[in-house]
């Protein structure tokens, strides 16, 4: 038997495809498939979420969950303003709004399952007029009116479920990557909810005060608050403040231009004093510790 020692050509055992090309095709493929299927899934869920009776939501002990040591009885002014706004917003008959006040310096307000609405002192302190306060409350009431909390919860559950089925482990890079993609898809819907709630709140302002300066005022507060921390929009649950202002204004442009007097109604002195005393209470508690 004759033996020879040929030179083996290069690249027999490897594929010459450029790794970046493969990376690009696969990543884009995953994103497109994931986003499309989640989109369809969420649209389906939204269809069914509307059928969940509000009374089911009310059975969840939300009040106990959101209550903490800072939650106290809201002052009469807040309760009455909320009642007035709710009455003006055409909520379904079976929907009840429960207002909570939390004496903490978080600059936020939120609405959640079962018609519960939470206002934090931090946000109330920044607010200078009743118009702005009405904007906050109306915005949150609109979330409840359109059943956004139950839709958002369903989105979250469905997305998590689907992702856990696709990638068995969330501790590797791909699992995390797909998790993030899923989350960003859900956020798109969350931003749409914000616009929907803004629109309703703005029309309430116009109905109540004849103009929507309250929305402008409130958004300016947000803008100051997030001055340099506002990240890229697609990474966020809320639209950029600038865009919200723009959209809210385009909704009411016609109305606001006709009205001459755009002065906002100031907050009652009694309420302002009460807030100041609340801040004092928290400071004392902190120094006690």
């Amino acid at each position: 038997m004759e033996y020879s020692n040929p030179e083996i050509p290069e690249g027999i055992n490897t594929t010459p495809t450029h790794p970046l090309k493969e990376f690009f095709i696969l990543t884009v493929g995953v994103i497109v498939i994931l986003v499309t299927s989640l989109y369809l899934l969420i649209l389906t869920i939204d269809y069914f979420a509307d059928m969940i009776p509000f009374s089911w939501e009310e059975k969840i002990p939300v009040a106990q969950i959101i209550a903490d040591k800072n939650t106290i009885e809201p002052p009469q002014y807040l309760t009455r303003l909320t009642e007035d706004i709710v009455a003006a917003m055409d909520l379904p008959d079976d929907m009840k709004i429960t207002l909570h006040y939390s004496n903490s310096d978080i600059v936020n307000a939120f609405a959640t399952l079962g018609g519960h609405l939470v206002l934090y002192r931090g946000l109330l302190e920044k607010i200078k007029s009743e118009d702005e306060l009405a904007m906050v409350i109306a915005h949150e009431v609109a979330h409840i009116k359109y059943r956004h909390p139950v839709a958002a919860a369903s989105h979250g559950i469905a997305t998590t479920l689907i992702l856990s089925l696709i990638s068995t482990s969330s501790d590797n890079a791909l699992g995390r990557f797909m998790g993030t993609t899923g989350m960003l898809t859900v956020m798109k819907f969350s931003r749409d909810f914000e616009y929907e709630a803004d629109a309703d709140a703005v029309s309430l302002l116009v109905k109540r005060y004849g103009h929507a300066q309250g929305a402008v005022g409130l958004f300016s507060i947000f803008k100051e608050e997030m001055a340099d921390s506002e990240p890229v929009e697609f990474l966020n649950t809320h639209p950029l403040t600038e865009k919200r202002i723009h959209k809210a204004m385009s909704l009411t442009g016609a109305v606001t231009n006709r009205t001459q007097d755009k002065k906002m109604k100031p907050l009652p002195a009694e309420f302002v004093n009460w807030l100041a005393s609340q801040a004092q209470v928290e400071v004392e508690e902190k120094t006690d510790r």
Binding site: M1, T14, P19, L20, N172, A173, V232
Partner: protein, 148 residues
């Protein structure tokens, strides 16, 4: 946001360093393969010459190469779609050739003219530990024929 930045940085680092290391490794492999062409390695179990004037000796060559973050990510994506895991092909190709080269180097140092009956073993290190960057080990061994 910070998660995304970390992820992209890791991918870029994995790609950059992995690609650089691979390029250098291939260049070195080609160079040494040319140098050791005089020591052929064959898989036949029977010594080719049938002559008794040879001493025989076991030679081994062993290498461990790590997967980079980028390669691993592509391979994970491949797990979803199926198809050739091209990002691991070069990795294994390098490891096999490197193991054979190390084995040949030993044979050459002993004054052997060839290595016959060569075999290879492949093992993955960190197997099944999700988050760990895996490594592969290739062991090549054979019988060196040293003329006496």
């Amino acid at each position: 946001m910070s998660d995304l930045i970390i992820f992209i940085t890791l991918l870029a680092l994995g790609y950059g360093f992995g690609r650089y290391a691979e390029k250098r490794h291939y260049a070195s492999i080609r160079k040494r393969e040319m140098q050791l062409r005089n020591v052929p390695a064959i898989a036949s179990r029977i010594p080719p010459y049938g002559e008794p004037n040879f001493d025989s000796q076991l030679v081994t060559g062993n290498v461990v190469i790590s997967v980079d973050y980028f390669k691993r990510f592509i391979a994970n994506l491949r797990n979803l779609f199926g198809g050739r895991v091209t990002s691991y092909e070069t990795l294994l190709d390098r490891a096999r050739r490197e193991a054979i080269l190390r084995m040949k180097r030993k044979a050459n140092d002993m004054g052997a003219t060839m290595v016959f009956n060569i075999k290879m073993e492949t093992a993955s290190i960190h197997k099944g530990q999700g988050n760990n960057i895996g490594s592969i080990e290739v062991l090549a061994y054979g019988t060196a024929l040293i003329p006496n």
